[in-house]
Subunit: 217 residues, 4 copies
DNA sequence: TATGAATGAGCGTTCATTCAT
DNA sequence: CATGAATGAACGCTCATTCAT
């Protein structure tokens, strides 16, 4: 009776796929919809249950509290938002898969854009709920501020040593790069998603913009 | 018993100052605190009333619904977030108060930073609640996408004609400029307010970064 | 609109009478009925509300939790179950209002019987819930074990010195006296209330029984 | 995996021993613990299952309802609380195993004390739940009021005829005897179990007390 | 104008019980 | 025989809102 062509991919199953039962998947899907549309606090477990086509009690069999459901949805995405490309791509960068910063930037942006598009509703939830949940803020700072930031700075140093990038503190280069990209993603996907974006062009321009700002003169 | 050295400035009084009674001010202050800390949906009118030192009914005497209270807080700031410098500064720009784009940028950033700092909790509410309230999104698009965006583009055109800025579509210059600045403000004040920012330096760098990206070559 | 010929007497109003509003009285009355019939844990606030003819929320306006409602009902009776006759009657005893232990016993039993009869449902709740609520057990030990027991022992010593009572440890005399009386009250009012008791006769016999057990020979 | 040195003795197996499976025993033990600690209504089948180390469904395979589980625990003890000594000892008494009422009393009290100590948690449940369950009250009245009371009265008559006991209605002698003993047991084991009792002495005194009250003069 | 008692719908959560495996 | 996922009614409690005072 198990169906596996689910919309909820293996990210949420905690590593091994197929760990979520059919009903659990429907609960998670319904919760993602609701949380991202109305926010966590304004979403009721009873409506989530209705939308998932399960009894309300069933939610609490799988997730002790409503908040645990939120974290089960958001935590794995938070990790993967940042983790994978860092580990893999960091090696690629240092192993000269990318000869220029611009190349690396290009790859990174495309890769993260694909990820965000795929998990858009969850990313929305993440962004929207971070201010209200200590745990999320903690994880976010851990992953973004520590992991991503630190490793990114290494990459920047690498290209600075190659004489490709301007001699500015690496953390500032990182901050400006990330905030330009993030600024675009937030505008594009969170705050003004209905606006008609010429995505290809905007991304290209954003990268040029960053490069102009940080390349060695 | 009326005190007038209130923290809630005349912005919220709807144009003419002194319109808000003492109790009304305390309600608004309490609501701002709570909404920005816990979010609109997770804030209860009963706790707002308690914090304001008024009866729960008093809130509803002044604001028909809880949502009306939210809008009363957020709407005037949304307007002023964008409106004033546009009207005034637009004239100034065109009247050559600012000879260079960089000068204008500098002035604008400082001015908006001061505004955001002054109204930080309300700006937080604004950013946090926009995704959940049609009205807010409507106002935001109206003010930002139409007013700010359009007028800003005029300014950019002005400097492009002077040969100071690169020949890129003005809307893209605007988008990149705004998203760099907004990216900084969001990181600085909303998502990582506890991080130790070297504000002066970051702003200067952000402006240089933008200028490198957009100035004519 | 206030009526004061209520069944809930001033005991529960916290000392000054008339402190309980009309609805509060109805809530307390309904709760007493239900708690004593079905027990605290098996009584639902929704049914209490229905029986009291108020909205469920009204209960929680007056009592923060269901348990607080229980304590508000039971605490004052616990105090008065023991306190008043002790303070007053102790003086009376020592001031020779009662020349013989039997006389004192007689008065005490009658007085407490009247009290128990008047507050029977609450006393039932008290007896039934003591095993499950730390606070109640604490209060009970405080009042009964400490206050009543100690003062009662003084009275017994007094009559032992007069040569009226047997030379047994006063605490044992107290324990036997109380357990004989309590044994009767528990059987009569709690465990077998439907049995046809010849109350007058039983009390008389119980007192004689106690006297035979404790009087000096 | 079956262990047979179980704490749940054959009393609960319904007469023939070995009828309870290992899991059943663990269910019953867990239920006894919980019912006596928190009361029947406040104990959940899910926690009983957890404590017993079985699935929740397993409980309902053996006991159709939660209440049936309660009755399965409490009924056999209720019977044995009263039945055995009556049947056997009644014969012993009449066959002059006990020459004096005091002797009989002594034996009975010791015997019942041992029984209560052994089954204390179940006796607690019994006492605590009697007020809330018709069936229990019915059984209690049946066993105590009819069986015990009636047979006990016969014994008293027997000693009255021997001229050993005062000429009081036998039922009153019984009532006073039982309530003195019960009063002690309730205080000792139910209401003030933590108090430091000098058990031996108290029992001796209680018996003397009763004898003084009922022996012929 | 300000109050706060009152409301009843709705909240997140737990419950005893069922039943397909 | 045993399981534990699933149920949906009921739980204690909070909510935004109303209204008589």
């Amino acid at each position: 009776m198990k169906m596996n062509n689910s919309k909820v991919d293996s990210l949420l199953a905690g590593g091994e796929s197929g760990e979520l039962t059919d009903k659990q998947k429907r609960i998670v899907e319904a919760a993602i919809e609701m949380f991202s549309e109305k926010g966590f606090a304004a979403s009721s477990t009873s409506e989530i249950a209705k939308r998932a086509g399960v009894a309300e009690g069933t939610i609490f069999r799988h997730y002790k509290t409503k908040k645990e459901l939120l974290l089960a949805i958001v935590t794995p995405v938070m990790g993967n938002l940042v983790a994978p490309f860092i580990v893999k791509d960091l090696e690629k960068v240092l192993e000269k898969d990318y000869e220029f910063y611009e190349e690396f930037l290009e790859a990174m942006v495309r890769n993260r854009q694909a990820f965000i598009q795929k998990h858009l509703p969850i990313v929305r939830i993440l962004v929207q709920e971070i201010p209200f949940h200590e745990e999320l803020r903690g994880q976010f700072i851990e992953h973004v501020a520590k992991d991503l930031y630190a490793r990114f700075a290494n990459i920047v140093s690498h290209f600075q040593e190659k004489g490709e990038l301007v001699q500015m503190p690496p953390t500032s280069v990182v901050r400006l790069t990330i905030s330009s990209i993030l600024g675009f993603f937030l505008a594009r996907y969170i705050f003004l998603p209905e606006y008609e974006w010429n995505e290809e062009e905007e991304i290209e321009m954003t990268i040029q913009f960053i490069m102009n700002g940080v390349k060695a003169r």
